[in-house]
């Protein structure tokens, strides 16, 4: 995934109107980062941990966010699109009929 906002699970925001807004948003990102590294410590998944850290560094403060927006040339990936769509998904329990069809029948 190339989008640091999606990787940290925070909404992308580039135009904080006041310094306080920016500071508040910095804190939101920091908390998301801490949660992400708690969920995925380096000893469990080094690659993922590095991705999370790089994502945090890319958007940790207002200047970093603007810099990322200006200079990041990475192409968005299908994974980014799925992450964007998935944010609105409401996981649901499958119907018993669907379950029965997957349990039985021809594979």
């Amino acid at each position: 995934m190339t989008d640091p906002y999606r990787l940290l699970g925070v909404p992308a925001r580039l135009h904080e109107t006041t310094a306080q807004d920016a500071a508040d948003y910095d804190e939101v990102i920091r908390q998301a980062y801490l949660a992400a590294i708690r969920a995925c410590p380096p000893e469990r998944d080094r690659q993922r941990f590095e991705q999370v850290r790089a994502a945090y560094e890319a958007i940790a403060n207002a200047r970093a966010r603007l810099g990322h927006d200006l200079f990041d040339a990475a192409a968005p990936t299908p994974e980014d699109l799925l992450a964007a769509l998935q944010a609105d998904f409401q996981p649901q329990l499958p119907s018993a009929q669907r379950l029965r069809r997957v349990l039985g029948g021809k594979a």
Binding site: L70, E79, P91, L93, R100, R101, V102, G104, G105, A107
Partner: protein, 820 residues
């Protein structure tokens, strides 16, 4: 001709063979997996006599053919053969893979009917029941189940269906109760880990993963297991599994993820694209599905893809309209930058920053662009202009975003590096009120003060740094060195009393052994001890020998003392022979000394004769490498050539020594002999072949410098024409700059004759610089007087000039890349 006759010419039909011949051919064909032929032969044998061995042979033929067909996916045909095997050979149906093929072929009714066969052995029945558990759960309600009443498939089915219904409702308590009613030997037993995984999926993925890990590999519910395993994958990784699933399983996975029905075709299409689709394919996908995607998403993704899928610009415009001008420039800058086209990228960024600078809401963006441009991006364009441009960009950035400390620091540092101390001080004055307690900025202020030789001010500032950062080792050294510098200034003015005070102050700050030795040497220089014991002790402490002598000579230059006299006072014997170890030690000190080359060369000057003699010593290859590096660093070209030559005698063609020898022509590269240039080319090839990248790069840099040095036009007229015809000396000035004094002397000698040349040179008292100036004046006069311009000497070899890469206007590139 029939196929059979064509395939097997001369083979007799089975009916024509006797029994031994039939047996031999049947066994041979079976062994060769020629099942069809072997079947005919065994059938003929059985027709004549039904021996058990031949019946087994026929059964093996059917089994072999059935397996071969099943492997090709022809399950129905495989099942037919298996049934023939039962009918003709009396083998039980349930042997081998029959049950699995039945289920795979979708013949559930037949599979269930088998369960009614009371003759089935217990183990086979249990296996069949397990295999049929899934089928039984999906058994149509209107189709009767012809199963024995005691079959667990029947008796536990209600509990299994109850668990499924409860899970649909999220009734986990009810589900667990139903699952508890399923005994652990039941054919439905594997529903337990599966439904528990389902229950945990939304709340505890880790526990869900543990639950599904308990599912045995031969579970009768592999399809549900695969779906659940995909569903517990973190983030978006489940998408990769989507295209591997069958239609029902895909829909189940999308149910679990909560994907709306409208988005399902789009996601299936997305899964087929793979992880890294070609940018243009990916762009086309987004365009195709833009109406199903949330508002703005396709547009934003397509914009970010444009630098990678340049050819889709028109398609983008058709779908979303024209890009705003600044965004257009932005994407163009990213596009050309990604393609390594620095000059047009720079131009686009500059235009974008100019445009944003005028918008009060976009100043921060503009500042970031200017700041970025001050970095490495323009380094490759022109070294000469790079620093000046960098400073300009940094100034623009600071103007728009003065709160960015790092940019302020970079600007001050760059100004200091350029010797623009007044501007650096101005920038500091503007920056410090914003960051009054910033140790980094104060440290930079110390450096600026030191560069301006304001030693006391530097020491005062350094103390401020230390108040903020008490364990900062570099600032301690800076204070000490600042005090050293001031002390040297005082020693130079023979103000020893004040110098001693400065040195005492320096002693409070410095800890490193080398600094203490320097301190002692400076103290000794302020002492009036006629025996110079202090100087001698300090020289010994600084390594003694050549290394100590070098330190002393360096210090003599700093305090404005006569080097030879000071060396004598320090007990340095310049006439003694130096061994290899002493030369290596000196080389290491030279390498480590952070002084300008001029100071290094001045300190090495009195040692030069001694070092020339020492070239005859015995050196290891590594020693000579260290020594040559030091001479290269100090631009001691003569010594460098001597030592490189000695190294090449012992290790001929060694690339690094060829490089050192060639580098000794620095400043006069055009004088490098052709033979050495050829050697250098071979050294480049060899270093490249041996993966010695460092040497290879150094040689390439040397070639680039050589090309630049030799970039004389083929015809000298082109070179001279642009010069001012009213200034006949201009050509000689140019010749002096390009070719050096020796070239000018050579030409003058030819023009004047040896006697006149030598006489004039003698009159100049051996000062080549003055002699060169005098020659130019003389030749200018002669040209004016006689009207016969002496021909400028043409250095060898002649190569075409290297044109510097011009900065193309952005508009040209934009026409190529983004002209819509």
């Amino acid at each position: 001709m029939s196929r059979k006759a064509k395939d097997k010419p001369g083979k007799s039909p089975p009916q024509a063979l006797d029994i031994p011949a039939l047996v031999a051919r049947a066994e041979a064909d079976l062994a060769l997996a020629h099942y069809k032929e072997a079947t005919e032969l065994y059938k003929e044998l059985i027709k004549r006599e039904r021996r058990p061995l031949w019946v087994d042979g026929l059964a093996a033929c059917y089994a072999g053919r059935a397996h071969a067909l099943a492997d090709k996916g022809m399950l129905k045909e495989a099942l037919t053969l298996w049934r023939n095997r039962q009918q003709l050979c009396g083998k039980p149906l349930f042997e081998g893979p029959y049950l699995a093929w039945l289920i795979q072929a979708g013949e559930q009714v037949e599979a269930v009917r088998m369960l009614a066969d009371l003759s089935l052995p217990g183990t086979v029945r249990a296996e069949l029941e397990t295999r049929l558990a899934g089928i039984l759960l999906d058994w149509p309600d209107d189709t009767p189940l012809a199963l024995p009443a005691e079959s667990p498939l029947l008796s536990h089915r209600a509990a299994a269906l109850g668990a499924l219904r409860a899970s649909q409702l999220g009734d986990w308590v009810g589900m667990n109760e139903s699952l508890a009613a399923i005994p652990f030997r039941s054919p439905y037993r594997d529903l337990k880990p599966l439904l528990k995984t389902l229950a945990l999926l939304a709340t505890d993925r880790s526990a869900a993963a543990d639950a599904i890990a308990r599912l045995p590999s031969n579970s009768p519910f592999p399809r549900l297991a695969v779906v659940l395993q995909a569903a517990i994958l973190p983030d978006t990784r489940w998408l990769g599994k989507l295209s591997e699933l069958d239609a029902d399983s895909r829909q189940l996975l999308l149910d679990l993820k909560g994907c709306p029905d409208a988005l399902r075709p789009l996601l299936l299409d997305l899964a087929r694209l793979g992880e890294k689709p070609h940018p243009e394919t990916w762009f086309d996908y987004l365009l195709r599905h833009r109406r199903q995607l949330p508002a703005g998403l396709a547009e934003s993704f397509c914009q970010r893809l444009l630098p990678h899928a340049e050819s889709r610009l028109q398609a983008y415009t058709d779908a979303f309209g024209r890009l705003p001008q600044v965004r257009h420039m932005h994407l163009a800058a990213l596009t050309v930058e990604m393609r390594g086209k620095r000059a047009p990228a720079l131009s686009f960024w500059e235009r974008m920053a100019e445009s944003l600078s005028n918008d009060p809401t976009q100043k921060l963006r503009a500042a970031l662009i200017w700041r970025r441009l001050s970095g490495i991006d323009i380094a490759a364009l022109s070294d000469e202009d790079h620093l000046a441009d960098s400073i300009d960009y940094l100034q623009r950035s600071v103007e728009l975003d003065p709160d960015q400390r790092e940019t302020q620091l970079r600007l001050i540092s760059a100004l200091r590096g350029q010797g623009e101390l007044q501007q650096a001080r101005g920038a500091l004055e503007r920056a410090l009120p914003r960051f009054p307690k910033d140790a980094g900025l104060l440290l930079e202020a110390v450096q600026v003060a030191l560069a301006g030789k304001a030693f006391k001010k530097a020491a005062g500032l350094a103390k401020q740094v230390l108040e903020l950062d008490p364990i900062n080792p570099s600032v301690r050294q800076l204070i000490g060195h600042a005090l050293f510098s001031h002390a040297r200034k005082l020693i130079k003015a023979d103000n020893f009393e004040s110098a001693r005070k400065e040195l005492s102050a320096a002693a409070e700050w410095l800890r490193a052994a080398e600094d203490i030795s320097t301190l002692n040497l400076l103290r000794a220089l302020t002492s009036d001890d006629p025996a110079d014991v202090g100087i001698r002790d300090a020289v010994a402490a600084l390594g003694g020998g050549l290394a100590g002598a070098f330190h002393l000579a360096l210090e003599a230059g700093r305090v404005g003392r006569n080097v030879n006299a000071l060396l004598l006072r320090g007990g340095v014997n310049l006439k003694a022979a130096a061994d290899a170890g002493a030369v290596v030690a000196l080389a290491r000190v030279v390498e480590a000394t952070r002084e300008p080359e001029k100071a290094l060369r001045a300190a090495l000057l009195p040692l030069r004769p001694l070092l020339k003699r020492a070239v005859a010593g015995r050196y290891a290859e590594a020693d000579l490498s260290v020594i040559c590096e030091a001479w290269l660093r100090a631009k001691e070209n003569e010594l460098l050539r001597h030592y490189a030559q000695v190294a090449l005698k012992h290790w001929p063609q060694r690339p690094i020594f060829v490089y050192f020898k060639a580098a000794s022509y620095a400043g006069n590269l055009y004088q490098m002999p052709m033979q050495l240039q050829d050697q250098l080319e071979r050294a480049a090839e060899e270093s490249h072949a041996s993966n010695d990248r460092h040497t290879y790069q150094r040689i390439q840099s040397l070639f680039a410098a050589l090309d630049a040095d030799l970039s004389w036009p083929e015809d000298g007229a082109d070179f001279i024409d642009p010069l001012d015809p009213g200034d006949p000396g201009a050509a000689f000035e140019m010749l002096l700059r390009m070719g050096g004094e020796e070239t000018l002397f050579k030409m003058a000698r030819q023009a004047m004759g040896n006697a006149a040349f030598d006489l004039l040179r003698k009159q100049m008292g051996g000062n080549d610089k003055n002699f060169a100036r005098a020659l130019i004046e003389l030749m200018k006069d002669e040209m004016r007087g006689i009207g016969m311009p002496p021909q400028p000497a043409k250095p060898q070899p002649v190569k075409p000039p290297l044109a510097p890469a011009p900065r193309k206007p952005a508009s040209d590139i934009q026409r190529d890349l983004f002209d819509d």
